[in-house]
Symmetry: C2
Subunit: 361 residues, 2 copies
């Protein structure tokens, strides 16, 4: 196993179950998951030979990588189990299901464990560690899913933080609208991370098993500035610059803050899968991410969007600027984006979820 754990600059989702927590504010993720439900069910039905896979031990193993604290992961896992059971003959011995819930070591596993469904039909275990290394033994899982997690890079690309580099990302929080060198640095970082991700999964997944991933996506060749998220990242930078001018944060703090999230194109991931060589592509497509398609969008939708972003990215801001500024930052950001509702409405919001399913050769 990888003894050296990759330390993410990004922090895990907000823990606990308070009003700002991930577990209370992940409706967008849940809707995406339910949209994916049918797709995943179809994959399992058509591409997975569950009967053969469980024949040895009668235990079917599922891993959710980047599960956060629930509850979306519980719905997802329950759906997968139902799909697998449906592919088995009605009179055959039912397999037992073991589910590995993985996230970074500093994820709030206590909340995850105490919110596990009481009436679950599976054994549940928690797996702490970065999925950019192996987190489970060789050939130990049959289905691995990872939703809304692999767009988080293992760290901010280091060139972006280096004042002497061409990729120094002064005054910005993301590669959106940034210098070409910044875009390249993010792209390279994603390439290295996804390579490690695929290598580790190739180790862990049994031959014939499935790897199913949903993450931020973008059509190949489209500039990131077309996307709704770009408006958000630009607004974040504007808010931080404003707060700097008011003496609330330092220039240094603004310049060194970058959000390590990357949107990949299907072509880019397909090339990495081919390079890895251990998987066959069963599906590789850009999908619509539910709520974003709402037309017309109103200010309430934008507010709700920011509540979700605060739950998922809040800890990044807390880590960098301190707990005391979180609400101020997001109040300003929300106000700014509410004023940009029309711009968000007319941004590209269709095919921005990359979904892919691979079968271990």
């Amino acid at each position: 196993m990888g003894k050296v754990e990759i330390v993410l600059n990004s922090l895990p989702m907000s823990g606990g179950d308070g009003p700002n927590s991930y577990s209370k504010n992940s409706q967008l993720q849940r809707r995406s998951a339910s949209l994916l439900k049918e797709t995943i069910d179809k994959l399992i039905t058509e591409k997975l030979d569950a009967k053969t896979l469980v024949s040895d031990s009668n235990t079917f193993c599922i891993a959710d990588l980047g599960c956060a604290t629930g509850p979306n992961t519980f719905f997802l896992v329950q759906d997968i189990i139902k799909s697998v059971e449906n592919t088995l003959e009605p009179n055959s011995t039912k397999p037992e299901f073991l589910v590995f819930f993985n996230d970074l070591t500093n994820n709030d596993f206590n909340t995850l464990f105490t919110s596990l469904p009481q009436d679950r039909s599976y054994f549940a275990v928690g797996v702490p560690g970065s999925f950019y290394g192996c987190v489970l033994p060789q050939s130990s899982v049959h289905i691995v899913v990872s939703l809304a997690a692999t767009h988080w890079l293992s760290s901010v690309p280091k060139e972006v933080l280096d004042k002497s580099s061409e990729a120094w990302n002064k005054g910005k929080v993301h590669y959106s609208n940034a210098a070409e060198e910044v875009v390249k640095a993010y792209e390279d970082q994603f390439g290295r991370d996804m390579e490690k991700f695929l290598e580790a999964r190739a180790q862990e997944i049994v031959s014939g098993g499935l790897l199913v991933v949903g993450m931020c996506g973008i059509p190949q060749g489209m500039p990131f500035s077309n996307l709704a998220d770009s408006i958000m990242y630009t607004s974040m930078a504007d808010v931080l610059t404003q707060m700097q001018s008011q003496g609330l944060i330092s220039e240094e703090q603004v310049d060194t803050f970058n959000i390590p999230i990357y949107s990949a194109s299907p072509e880019e991931v397909a090339a990495l899968v081919e390079k890895n060589g251990c998987f066959a592509v069963e599906s590789m497509e850009l999908m619509d991410p539910t709520t974003w398609l709402k037309r017309p969008m109103d200010v309430e939708d934008v507010r709700q969007w920011m509540v979700c972003i605060k739950a998922t990215m809040g800890s990044l801001f807390i880590n960098h600027f301190g707990d005391h500024l979180l609400d101020d930052i997001f109040d300003r950001l929300t106000a700014r984006l509410v004023g940009l509702t029309d711009k968000v409405e007319s941004s590209y919001r269709e095919k921005v979820m990359l979904f892919f399913a691979l079968k271990r050769k």
Copy 2:
């Protein structure tokens, strides 16, 4: 799997790593564990056919049931892995090790995970749930250990809390020096719990695998009142009665407080193992529990003892009497026991750790 999780009246060890935490105050447990090291090593060397067990998947699985938050469990697991590796031929492929760390769902797994050794040579997962039911799939583990955990009953025997019962344990906190009916109620509860424990382990452990348990023990026929712990339990009751007379706690609170810990004899456990029928007894003995044998014992030893007891039983008191009284209770208890150092010194403290090792048929 057991969908209904047994709810323990007992709470888990004190979480976190503060001055009162279990992770900082479990030296007694650590010394017991190191005493056991040789015994466990010998067992693995002589009784375990590791080579055959790992031949299928090359993954060797170990579970620590009732692991608390560490660090003792990490030393124990590392020793077991070393022993297993030593039994394998030097030139054979090294197996991968997967370790299941189990404790109650409300155990502080966050602390356990963040204190996992960085340079560990095994995959670590956390398993929330009561070990009085199945917590893992069938035939999924090769060695199960449980140290200082199975003397915790799944709950206080309900008769002991029932005013109308002969076993109503008014004014006492334990079956030590209590009515015969109270002793019987604890004994029966232990019998039912150990039956469930063995049934669950028989499901989870592969044929040829080992179950290794260390817990509170007592020579058959010896009254509990001979033991050092008896002096402690009597002192606890005295302290609580005193605090009641001072109006700090109610009579009701004192009468309904019972510590669900049971000391079993080898004969008693052997009978339950035979009844279960799935295991062969490889070892069943009473051992000396390290520090207790110190002669002469001084007041500092008694104080240290109470620090450990506070870390392991503190949450029981917090749960029943409230957080604000914990220090007061333990200050009084420590003062009282320090005054009884001679009595503790002359109590029976030799063979009060029951150690048993079973091999799954």
